[in-house]
Every structure is written in C-alpha cells, then in structure tokens.
Amino acid sequence: MSHRLLMPWITPRGLGRVGWTLVLALLAAPAAAHAQPRPTRPDAPRHFAITGARIVTGAGQVITDVTVFLDNGVITAVGRNVRVPEGAWIVDATGKTVYPGLIDALTDLGHPPARSARPAASPMGPFGPQAQIDPSNYSWGPEDRPGTHSATTAADGIDKADARIGQWRNAGFTTVVSTLDDGLVTGQAAILDLGDYERGRGMVVATPVAMRLKLQDRTYMGYPQSLMGSFAYLKQLYLDAQYYDRAWKAYEADPKGKERPEWDGTLEPIRDQLGSQYPVLFPAADRKEILRAIATAKVMGVKPIVYGAQSAYQAADVLKEAATPVVVSLDWPTPPRNGDPEATPALETLRFWDRAPTTPAELQKAGVVFAFSSGGITSASDILGNARKAVALGLSKDAALQAFTMTPARMMGVSDRLGSVEVGKIANLVVATGDLFDEGTRIETVFVDGDRFDVPEETAATRGPRGQRGAGADSAKAATTPVEMTANTGPYRSDAVTLIRNATVMTASHGDLTNADVLMRNGKIAAVGADLQAPNGAHVVDGTGKYVTPGIIDSHSHIAADAINEGSVNVSSMVTIRDVINPGDPSVYRALAGGVTIANVYHGSANPIGGGNAVLKLRWGSDAFDMLMAGTQEDIKFALGENVKRDRNPDRYPATRMGAQDVIRQAFLQADAYRQVWDAWNAGDHKGVEPRRDLTLEPLADILRGKRWMHVHAYRADEMLQVMRLSEEFNAHVRSFEHGLEGYKIADELAAHGAGVSTFSDWWAYKVEAYDAIPYNAALMEERGVLVSINSDSEEEMRHLNQEAAKAMKWGGMSEDNALNLVTINPAKQLGIDDRTGSLDVGKDADVVVWDGNPLSMFSKPLQTYVDGVLYFDRDLDRERQAALEKEKAALLERYGGQRGDSRAAPDRVAPRAGKEVIR
C-alpha cells in the first residue's frame, strides 16, 4: 500500500524500500497505541507545480510543456506561464504524460464485503444460496420493502482499512463511484476520492449521485422471489414513492381533519430522488436485459444508467435511441479453469468470451455514452489492462480515457469538479510514463485532492490484461478480431408474397381442400383456393404431396421466459411474464420446427392468483416486445389444487382447497373496492389525492371490469365448479381451465359458463388429482359443447401437438377436422385471437405450416413454418444454418480450445422424461 507522501522532499526512490517501511512504521505507531491522535503531517501549504508535462486534459485537448498548479486540492492553473509561488513542491514531469485522475464508475470500495455476514450453509433459492429461513425476515409483499436500503448511502460507514483503496489509487484511480452491494435497492451511490483522510467521510465528493438497484438479493426470504417479482417490486416501490409524495404534500398543506399518511423511511429518499431526478443504476448484461431495464425505469419514472452491460454490443442501437448511458464492467469473461476437458461450452458462452471486449468499441461507434467500471476485478492492475484489450479491438484511446474520466463525471452529475485537467477542478491527476493505453506504461504518481502519492514500482500497472489469471492473456493478443458470427436467429426468408401450390390444405375453418393453393401477402393470407396466380416476384413453394395447416397454437407454455413462478405469496397478480420474456430461448426455434407459431406463456401454478401472461408470436430473433402479439389481452393465471396447497416453508396460506377459493374471493373483494375508488377518480371525482396505484389489485380490478379474463389451472371437477361459481359472484369470467383433466365430469357446467378447457392429451397419474385423467377428456367435452384445446405445458410436448391432437381421434373418436381445431382455431378462441389467426382464412395472419404428410399421422413432420408470412423454419435451410453454426463454433473452440470446459454451460440432462406439469 502506498501512503500519502508526507515528506515530498525525499523521493521514494531515494529513500528505498527499507527506509519507507521505517517511515510508515513510525507514522502508524501512534494509531496502534490507541492514544488520542496527534497530527501526523505538517500543516504546510499544499502547493504543487507539475512542470514540463504533456497533458491530456480529458476535455479534448493535448497540450505539451505546460505547468499544472495545484493549490490546496484544486487545480488553479494550467498553462505555459504559470506563476509558481514560493514553497510549492515542484514535480518535474518532463517526458511524462499527465491525465485526469481515473474514475471507476461502479465499485463497493470502502465497503468490503463482510464475508461472515452470510450463514455458511444456506438453503438454495432460485438465485443460489439464500438467507436462512427466518419467518420474521420473510417478505409477504411489496409493503414489507424487501431488501430496500434506499436510506443508506455509501458515504456513510466507509472502511478506511479497505485495502483496495490504495491498490486502486496505485492503478491510477483517484475516484470511485461507491455503492453498497446488498439489497434490491442497495442504497445511494457516493463519489469517493481515494485519498488518505483522517476520517472516511473526508473521501466523499458527492452523495447521493445514483440509486443502485439489483434484481437478485439474498438478504431476505419471500417476495420477490423471482426475476419478474423483482421488476414488479421496483415498479411498485417507485409508484409508491410518487403516491407518498402526493399524500404527504396534501397532508402537510393542511393536516387538519386528515388522517396522517404512514411515514416510510424507505420511500423518503426515493421521494427525494424523484424530486431531484438523479439516476438509478440498473443492472443489465445484454440486449434482452437492457431493453427490460429501459422499459422498467420508464414506469418507475427515473433515468437509468445500465451497468454490467458486457454484451451491450448487441444493444448499441437501443441504447442510443433511448439515450441511456452505460457503465461497462471491464471484468471480461474468461474460460474457467478446472473444466471438463471434453465438455464443449455453448456457442452463446463462447461468443460471450469472444465478443464482450468488443462492447466498448461498438458503443463508441454507435455514439452511446459509456463509462468503465472494474466490475468484479480484484486485481487493480487488470482494470487498465482490460481496457487495453478493448482498445486492441477498436476502441479509440480517447474514448477509453473519456470512459474513465469525463463520462462518469457527467453521468454522476459532478463534471463541474471532476473528470478533466482544467482550472477549477479537483486536483486529481495521474502522472504516467507514457500513453495510459499502451502496454508497458507505468503510473508513477497520483494526485488525489491535491495530495501526492507516488506509486511503488512493484505494483505499477504494467501487466498485460489478466496477466496471471490463466486464460485469455495469450489468446487476447492474438485475437484482435472476434470470430465472425453466423445468424442463428431470424427468418430464413421474408418474401412479401409467397404462394404455396398444389397442396392438401386443412383450413381449420372450412374443411380440407385438395390440390389447393395458399397465397400469403404482406403477412396476411391473401387467398386460399385452387389455381391461384402467382403475382410477380412471388416466392412459389411446390406443395405437391404436402399438407398445409394453420400454425399450431400452444395455449399453455412456459418457454421463452426467465421466470415462471412468483410463489412467495398467494396473490402475485403484480408480476407478469411480459417482464421476463426471453426471446433467445432455443425452445422458440424448436417449437417452430414442430409447427408452432404462437405460444401463450403463463405464470406457473404455485399460488391461487399468479401473474400476467404473454401471447407470443414465435418471431425467432425478435426482441421480447416484438415477439409479443400486439393487442393481446394480458390475462391472469389462477391456480387451484395440489400445487397451490402443498407444504411450504414458512407456511403459506392456503393449505386446503377451501383456502384456495377463499384467497381468490378475498382478493376479488379487495379488487372490487379498488376498482370503485379508481373508477370514481377516473370519472372525474377528484376528492383528495390521486389514489395509490396497486399493481396487485389493478389486473384483478380489470377482471371485474371484464377487461381481462381468468385462466385457471385446475384438475379436479369439484374445484373447477367452485371457482366458476365464485367468478360468477363477481361477474367475472373463467375463459379457460388449464389442464382441466376432470373436465369431462362437468362438461355441461363448463359449457354453460362458457369456460373452455385446455387439456393434455393423455398424461395421467403423476399426482393424485391427475389420477382420474382420461385420454377421452377432449373428445367427451367437445361432444358436450365445451371449447377444447390441447396444450403442452412442456417444451418437448409442444413440438408435436399435432400428434397430441390426433390422440383425441383415437380416444373418443373425434373427427379429423375437430382434432386439428384442438391445436389451431380452438386455442385461438380461448386466447381471444381467433379473429386474427388460427385458421386459413383470407385476411388472417399468414401463420402457416407445410407438412410432408397428414399432420394427424405419427409419420409426418413440418417442413416449413411461416409466421406473418415470414419463413422462420425450413427443414433444408435449417441444415445449412446448423452447418454454418458448427463451423463458427469450431473456430471459437480453436481460439479458446486450451481453456474449454464450462461446466455451467455443459449439458447436464440425462434423458429427461416427458415433462409432467408439476411445479409449473
């Protein structure tokens, strides 16, 4: 650890290592004795003149042979004819380069992780080890403010003994953005200068400069337990702060006769934040997550700074568009050591290793504002080393410097005092032997707040990127360009007009047509019939001997979602799958290869009232919001029976079917009151303050308004009947029962209510409530007038729903037409999209599958799948794409071959059985 230079007339080199040790020991002695501290430094003027230097100001200029004068911590002069007062320390920087002090834009410096704080043996939660189950620390909803440390600031409680302070300073960092690390809201970020002060608070330059958020936290149990819960919670928290502000303003304006709003220490600082509009630091690694962060922050009413962002190269356009700044972690990924020598990392993992360091260059190219942070780097010298790697991959040195200086200063609102070598700014400087981004450059001296720190030679930042961390060092030098990427997503063709000729066309609305044609134009079905003319430029597909059907619609799926259940609470209607759509899930493409064009993705069945659904068009390669079928209702998934009532720790109501019905009834009663309040407000009855938005009750109130439907996971006939009657009490509507394996027992009641059933073809006996399941269910219900569909609830089963539909022909004698309807027009009706898709009718979306035989046979397979007239699956083109991907992967493996072995990414599935609905 270097020390603030107290006797600058003695150069460190002159003193030698032994001498320094002596000096340090002497200086340290009084503290060790626990005596009242005495001054440890002379109270001499802190005047430094750095002369003869080449200065990279960080404000766009490079000036040579100038003097920089530092007066008591402030830069007071930069120029050729600077008057240096008597008694100033002269630092001869001839031949050296002076830079503004570097800023690490996101750290927890000053707050070293307390390793003992977490219990050694922790139960595994969805994000890894969780806090010990402590019912008193269990969060039962947003009102418990789980992991919300908004009132704490990293400016408080700074641990001066954090060894990283000196290490970072020696690496050229004069300043860090420091944050605490625990919580969903970890607290207020502070700017700290890495000087040596009597008290930690001396380091603080500014606070609060940002509120740091995380999406996973282990310091509490309970809500939110899932990623979608975290999003819902953050939105509710900020909406609550807005309401809090309204309520207190109204109260303080005239408290007489009013009930006092509840004081909330977690909302106070957020209220302040919303008032002064300082940003949130929002974690996001890649395009998918960056889009989520931007969308969520919008609802929260705050400006986001995205951090982490190592794969932000994928999202330069959206970041630019949204003018969202980024803090890129320089902790580039490297192949793990001790891996399985035969395991092959996933292409995605290999690409991550290869592409992450290109992110800064890509952001620069796109004009995105970005700063650098050390991320998880533990060896300070790696920070600049890793930045050099980005420079080697095309980032300009100037942009790299900006990312360490002015950009973070601007982001955090302190560019008036930090970030450049300019008169009036804080005297934070780095004196280096050459260009900071050249290999071999040594940082000799660092000034922090006008105090001089000479860098001991042995710790100087001269090492290459990740010198000793095994992987990457050699390959990094060799790999100046990343391996070319093959498109593994996206359409194979997107013709404006496609004509499929001379096929057997199963329309799902008006029977089968033989030797018929299907014309698709601009995403819609333009014509279905015999001898259609191919317009100019149409792509013509020979359908001879083939079958054409509408795209298969899976009305109950859990693919393409990064979370399924928010089971911590019995009512989780605040969460929605829409917040966690993962458009890159390979299951999307595999479903297309099974003829599926639409998947309705549901919340799981862990609680009586689950969350919002997402009807996805499987536009492989699109962003989440583009995959979402426009204009679809966001319905709520409910659940009954065994999944809901099973044992949990801590106990969660309900434990019986009685309780499950009760939870729903009580929630509807609350939602009804909420609905009345808001309906009155929206009708213009503005008495008092605008009511609080409650994201849990909002969708339920919509159900009572008839604007959303209930889809209820249920197996047993009795509980289906009960919940239909319950919904009727509230004039609500069960649009579909999900699974409904005993639906055949109450087919007449279902038909009378108008509840559809989306069932399995032949699964049974995997649990008690599935013991009376029969494969005749679909046929029997259909016979008695129930709208029936067959769903998969499984990424595998969804790939052959055509076969599952055929089972209704075998078990119960359903007609071929009706069987096909089970997976096309019927699920479309249950989802309320039958006016747009589900059958081959003119004007509907061109969601079309070409099969090599009758799709209700075991011996047929899809050859082509079109969504909106765009070809997303083609059996032949698939082979070509796969070959190209294998080639790319081989090239990547060659580059990272010596290091391969990523047991995280390695497949670990041993012939999984057909997935039974259990937890989902």
């Binding site: 399985d340 292409l347 390979p586 055949y744 009641e749 595998e796 119960g812 209700l856 011996f859 057909a914």
Partner: protein, 437 residues
C-alpha cells in the same frame, strides 16, 4: 403354476424361491385360440393372411393355410392385422402408482449396490397402469429397479395376471447397472456474476471411486462363484446375484446417456466380459460407427425429448435411432415410465420421419429387445413355440389412430377394458345436467 426349482435350495433359500419361478412357464389356462383371417405380421420374415393358433400359452401354428383346430375359440381377424405384442424394454409399471405420492413408489430402494433385489417382489398386479398400457398393445415389459449404481434385477413380466406369479416370465431377467457418469453435477452462483462450480478433478475423482467400487462388486462375484463351487462360501444374496452377472448367465442393462459415458460403459463391459445392453443412449448417435464396431446394442429411452444442449440440432433425439440404425447398431425402445407405457409405439414412430425405417421401428418395439436380452427364442415374433403375446389391430400399431382390438398375453385373451375407458363410459352416460343459474 409349476415351479422348477433348479438349484441351490436351502443355501440361498429366499433367493432360490425367486430364481425358481418358472423359466418355462405353463400357464394355468389350457385354452386354445385360433386367430383367423388377419394379416399376420410375423416379424420373422413373413407377412401373410392366415391363422395363428395359440395353445397353453404358446403359439403353436402360424401360416396362411393353417386351420383352426377343433374346439379352439376362434377370433375373427378378417381385415385386421396381427402383430407380436409390444415389449416396453424398460418401465416402472407396477412399481409406481402416483408419481407425486412417495408411498406409492417402490422402484427405488436405498443404497448404491442392491444386486439381489428383484422388482417382481414389489410389483402390484392390480395397478391401474397395467390395463391402461395393454389397451394400447403393450403386452410385456422389463420392470426396472432404480437408483444407485447396481440398482437391482429387472423382472420380465407379462401385463396380465391375478398375481405376479401369473405375470412372471423371468423375475431375474437382467441386472440394472447405472454406469457412473463423468458429467459434472452441482451448480451454484458466486457473487458479482462469478460461478462457483465443482472442479472437473473432483468429478473425476468421484467417478473413479464409483467405478472402482463397481469393479470390486464384480470381482466379488467372481471370488464368490469360485468359493461357492468349492463349498467354501456361505449364502450371500448379493454375491449370488453378482455371480450370475460375471458368469454371463444374467445380462446387464447398462444405463448411459452421454457420449463419453456410453464409451466408458462399453469399455468397462468389454473388460468385464459381461452380456450387456446399453440403455438410454441419448447421445449414442455421436459415436454410432464406433458402437457398431463394438457390436453394442441399445435400448433407447423416450425419443420425444429435447436436445441435450442449446447448440444441438432440434431433432437430435428424434434422429438418434435412425442414425444408429444406419450405422448398423441394433436398437430397441423403452419408455422408462409407468403411466406413459402406452405411448411406447409413438416413441418409436417419432423416429420414422426423422430417418428410421418403419419396419425397424416396429422391430424396435416388438422383437429386438427380446433378442438383445437372450429371449429371442421365446418371444418377439409370431412363430410356433413362442410365448403367445399377440395383438390384433385395425392398422399400423405405430400410428396413433390405430385401435388395438384384441390382445393375448401369455396365451390368454385379455380385455382392453381399463380405468380410463370405464370413466369415459360412466361420464358419457351422465344425464344432461340441468344447469343452475
């Protein structure tokens, strides 16, 4: 039911009783059946329109010109098809009733080495799963023990019988060994995005320990066999079972799925000089030629399965069987399930559009597994002398819409009635409800 007590009475009393259960069963009923007029798919090289005669549990005649014997019960199959009954070469039927209810599950005993346990001692003859499975043409199965390294002995049962003795074909038909895997287990998350993971060295160490244990059990079986022959070994149930494995008397169902795991399992089996069949084999296609060179036979698990990793071709599992077949590897199919046993034909059929010839798929659910397990002389085809496990259908049994009209198990004509059909008929007959409100 006649028992031919073959050996070692007394010394290995309890085991002896089980081992003794009829290798050549004589079925209680002495009924004679003549299935006439159907297209007989013998799977022994001939398909013809003709008659099959069944007597005393056996096929006694099958041919185009065979006449129904006097007194035989005639089953008219005119316009229909007659096939060998389907063989689920690995299932849990009778060993589990309701998956989620532990107390109804009897397939997995504690411990890693349980070679003496036989599933026949736990099979529940009255399970609802059996009538459901056979209604789709599954007539017999290997009921597998689960868990550990030496899981125990699979029992070969016919899917009909008032008692397990009536169902029994061979209680100790094969030893089930789950070959140790080198796949790393256990994942975790560290702070700030890092991952903590078990190092490969740890996984390798554990693997080697497990293989060493397995070797020790095999060696134990050899020593025991010698000592017993010399009269120097007392009764030991576990060792008695292992002795049969090392003596090549009992085949081994050797479970392995990953490419490397399969290689290791095959190399181990060759070193041990045992009779074996690989089960699972989900990545076998990757080394199809190597497997063919080594004459490896595989009982594949469900083909309707997702690819093993994100980069695998979408049809990896569908195409596995076809690739193995093309390379010359003998394959059969199993569900490794209980309630899904009836879907066996679809697991095979799924591979047809992805490369397996239709005939090979049929053989994979009717004939091949019997041959692999050394039962080819007793079952798997429609030939005189074979156990009379037969189905009469209105079409290709691999096709969903095909109905199984009649079936014969161990020579007995068996109903296709089951719980599902009964519930269907009951609720179909529910009077039209007067709907309230």
């Amino acid at each position: 039911m006649k028992r031919t007590s073959s050996m070692i009475r007394g010394a290995v009393g309890a085991l002896g009783v089980l081992l003794a259960i009829l290798l050549l069963a004589t079925v209680a009923q002495a009924q004679t059946y003549a299935i006439t007029g159907g297209t007989i798919h013998t799977l022994a090289g001939r398909t013809f329109v003709g008659t099959v005669v069944v007597r005393d549990g056996r096929i006694v005649e099958a041919g185009p010109d065979v006449q129904a014997p006097a007194g035989a019960e005639v089953v008219d199959a005119t316009g229909k098809h007659v096939y060998p009954g389907m063989f689920d070469a690995g299932s849990e039927i009778g060993l589990t009733e309701v998956g989620a209810v532990d107390v109804t599950n009897d397939s997995q005993e504690q411990g890693d080495f349980k070679p003496h346990l036989q599933t026949a001692t736990a099979i529940h003859p009255a399970t609802e799963h059996i009538p459901v499975a056979r209604a789709n043409g599954i007539t017999h199965t290997m009921a597998l023990p689960q868990g550990g390294i030496i899981a125990g002995q699979a029992s070969l049962i016919g899917l009909d019988g008032w008692t397990v003795e009536e169902m029994d074909i061979d209680p100790g038909a094969a030893m089930v060994i789950n070959f140790p895997s080198l796949r790393a287990r256990g994942r975790g998350y560290g702070g700030f995005g890092g991952a903590s993971q078990r190092s490969f060295a740890d996984t390798e160490r554990r693997y080697q320990e497990q293989v060493a244990s397995l070797d020790e059990w095999m060696e134990g079986g050899r020593m025991y066999a010698k000592a017993r022959a010399a009269g120097e070994a007392g009764p030991n149930l576990e060792m008695e079972a292992m002795a049969k494995v090392v003596d090549r008397e009992m085949p081994v169902l050797l479970a392995a799925n990953g490419e490397r795991d399969i290689r290791h399992a095959v190399e181990w089996a060759e070193k041990q000089n045992i009779r074996y069949v690989i089960t699972g084999g989900s990545e076998a296609w990757k080394i199809a030629d190597w497997l063919a060179e080594h004459h490896v036979q595989i009982i594949l698990g469900a083909s309707q399965t997702m690819p093993a990793g994100p980069d695998e071709e979408y049809d990896e599992a569908y195409a596995n069987a076809g690739k193995l077949y093309a390379a010359g590897v003998k394959i059969a199919f199993a569900t490794f399930n209980s309630s899904d046993v009836r879907t066996l034909p679809y697991e095979a059929a799924m591979t047809v559009p992805y490369g397996l010839p239709r005939e090979a798929a049929l053989e994979g659910v009717m004939k091949n597994a019997a041959e692999m397990l050394g039962l080819g002389d007793r079952m798997g085809t429609i030939e005189p002398g074979k156990i009379a496990n037969l189905i009469v259908t209105d079409g290709d049994p691999l096709e969903i819409q095909t109905q199984v009209l009649d079936l014969f198990i161990l020579g007995r004509q068996v109903s296709t009635d089951n719980k599902h059909k009964a519930l269907y008929e009951k609720y179909r007959a529910r009077p039209k409800e007067k709907v309230i409100s």
